[in-house]
Subunit: 273 residues, 3 copies
């Protein structure tokens, strides 16, 4: 199944429009190329509707949002909605500032999102910051661990069901859920947190996967999470003495580039709940 | 000849002002340093005229153009023209959006450009989108291949002659022409397309080459194309099992850093038409 | 002492708010992670006060300043001052344009800066461009060499004393001074100048060091300079045939990632004047 998702990306070369932060944008572009997709970056209000129209999907990342790019996120998102393109929101820093929280909430309100991908703290901000926590008032802790897993799964499923989109929470254990099913994923390494932008990279990758697998979006989103984590494992296995986070970054992207369906199928560590 | 162009860059350390996209800007800076030049990035309308004045040339790349940087492109370009500095235009995405196409066409109209470097589809957009196709109405295909080469050479020469600047079209086969002569270049590898920004990098590099070789600009532009392609070949020859596009990016820049005149002369694969 | 500074960073994981240029921002983020800190980037006027409030320090780099980010630098700086957070200014290109010079001078005037870090030419611009050179009118040359060292030390101490902040001048020989003491540092390699952004990276690193060592800020700033230079030496020692500036960039960041207190103590080359 996940191998199939991978092959659909390599076969169809999904073009992904990214409105993303300037910190990690180069890595997002190279990850999209590595996985078999194709990236376009555009964030001006007079440019984004045309660009999103020629793409297959839209990745909105609010990491370095500003007065010029915020309106572009709405314009591009509405155009993508009109055209039936998948839209992913990566609410970087939601909860850390009023502007980020409010922008993320407004994007959720005005756009039909296909996926929201963030860490547990960002996702909780979106869930509880909305003012209406009915149905998602699970008592979820600040990290997804074996101890908090059951509550976290219930929370993510409930939120996904309420919002009608896929929720992907990444951390030590990753959760990818719609209202019915939740993939619990145990790929990856903690050292990935010492590289800037592995989350942003995953959001780009996941958008490509969702675009290329229109009939299996939940599986495709879960496949992207497994792929990113597995690439982190493979990249780490190639580290030599003296290597650090900069080389690790390269090795992870290299592992995405070299990933095939069989390796992904064999290396994916997940269960369905 | 090409070796001489390389040595002139290393000897004179041309300072290049880049108004370029935030996706590939770091690689453009490192490539400029690798080839022996020196990069400055500045894109604010109140900053660009001062900065371009202390440089030897200007590289305008519209990859993530916006309402703030578009006026800066015109201001910097006009100042560079006043000072007699070479100006290169990289029309990233011309044809993909109205804003990109119109901005590129207006830059061509209002500035005296020394070089336009893009892929065949961008260059065709500029040629035919201008409304006046007299003299450049060759029936040029969407890729430069051995089959379409003769038409493509005629098209590029005619466009260069009409616009009075050097046209560099990069792809599987690269063409660098003025109105009289066309270099047909066969360096490079297809895997370079799986790295973001090799085109942007080449535009930075080419600007440095043209600045450092004022009496042989066509040759210098062609030398830059050969150098980039040859670096792609050398970089690829150093790839190890498990390496992918991220490591390949590093190896190409490394190869530019280590390139000397003799290696370039021996490795350049071109003919004049 | 320097080893202690390093351990304080690794223990306390200082969160650093960066308003920095888009050329080198990814490397700054990875260097902050490599040294044990944590980066946040935010440059919108409606976002920066919230973001700086949750951080421990602020790194202002004017490398690609623009009309939108300049006001954000003042807003963030004032908020950081209110909260007693260290603020570092990296006046990239001061002296190269009116906008850069004036912005840097105004930031110095309106903010209480903890450290100013730049090359000798930028620092001289700030010293003499201010109109009032009383006390800092040492006849300082354009490069800090063994021959000009005594004058340069006097100049930097005088400027630090006058401005009431730490001045860090980096080049072939680095100087880190307050009004009383000056660290003269001889770590590093000249090839670091062929990588874009080693200065920007150092500014990020130094901010983390100053935040994590509130009682020994001068020592912490000097430790950061030694660490960066030593990482340049270690990184260079791992270079293989065919490697160039792109690989060197990765190896320097890797060396920061792997640096421990003992290695820093043993490798730091400095004297106090």
């Amino acid at each position: 199944m996940f191998g199939n998702c991978l092959e659909n990306v390599r076969k169809t070369v999904p073009l992904v429009h990214n409105i993303t932060n300037y910190v990690t944008v180069n890595d997002v572009a190279n990850v999209l190329l590595a996985c078999g997709g194709s990236p376009i970056m555009s964030d001006d209000r007079e440019d984004v509707e045309d660009i999103t129209s020629i793409c297959g999907g839209l990745n909105i990342n609010i990491g370095t949002l500003n007065q010029n790019t915020i309106p572009s996120m709405f314009l591009a998102g509405k155009k993508a909605n009109e055209l039936g393109h998948p839209v992913l929101l990566d609410p970087v820093g939601a909860g850390a500032s009023k502007l980020r929280t409010e922008t993320a909430l407004k994007l959720m309100e005005e756009l039909k999102l296909t996926v929201i991908r963030g860490n547990i703290s960002e996702i909780k901000t979106l869930a509880f910051g909305s003012g209406s926590t009915k149905g998602v008032d699970a008592d979820v802790a600040d990290a997804v661990t074996e101890e908090t897993l059951e509550d976290a799964v219930a929370f993510v499923k409930a939120l996904a069901g309420k919002l009608g989109c896929i929720i992907a929470v990444t951390g030590a254990i990753d959760l990818v859920a719609d209202g019915e099913k939740c993939y619990v994923i145990r790929n990856g390494r903690k050292e990935m947190g010492q590289i800037t932008g592995t989350g942003c990279q995953l959001s780009g990758l996941m958008t490509a996967y969702v675009v290329a697998n229109p009939d299996n979006r939940l599986e495709a989103a879960a496949a992207a999470v497994c792929l990113m984590g597995l690439a982190g494992e493979i990249g780490w296995s190639r580290m030599q003495e003296g290597d650090g986070n900069s080389t690790y970054r390269n090795r992870i992207i290299d592992a995405i580039y070299n990933m095939d369906a069989e390796t992904l199928e064999e290396g994916a560590k997940y269960e369905l709940r």
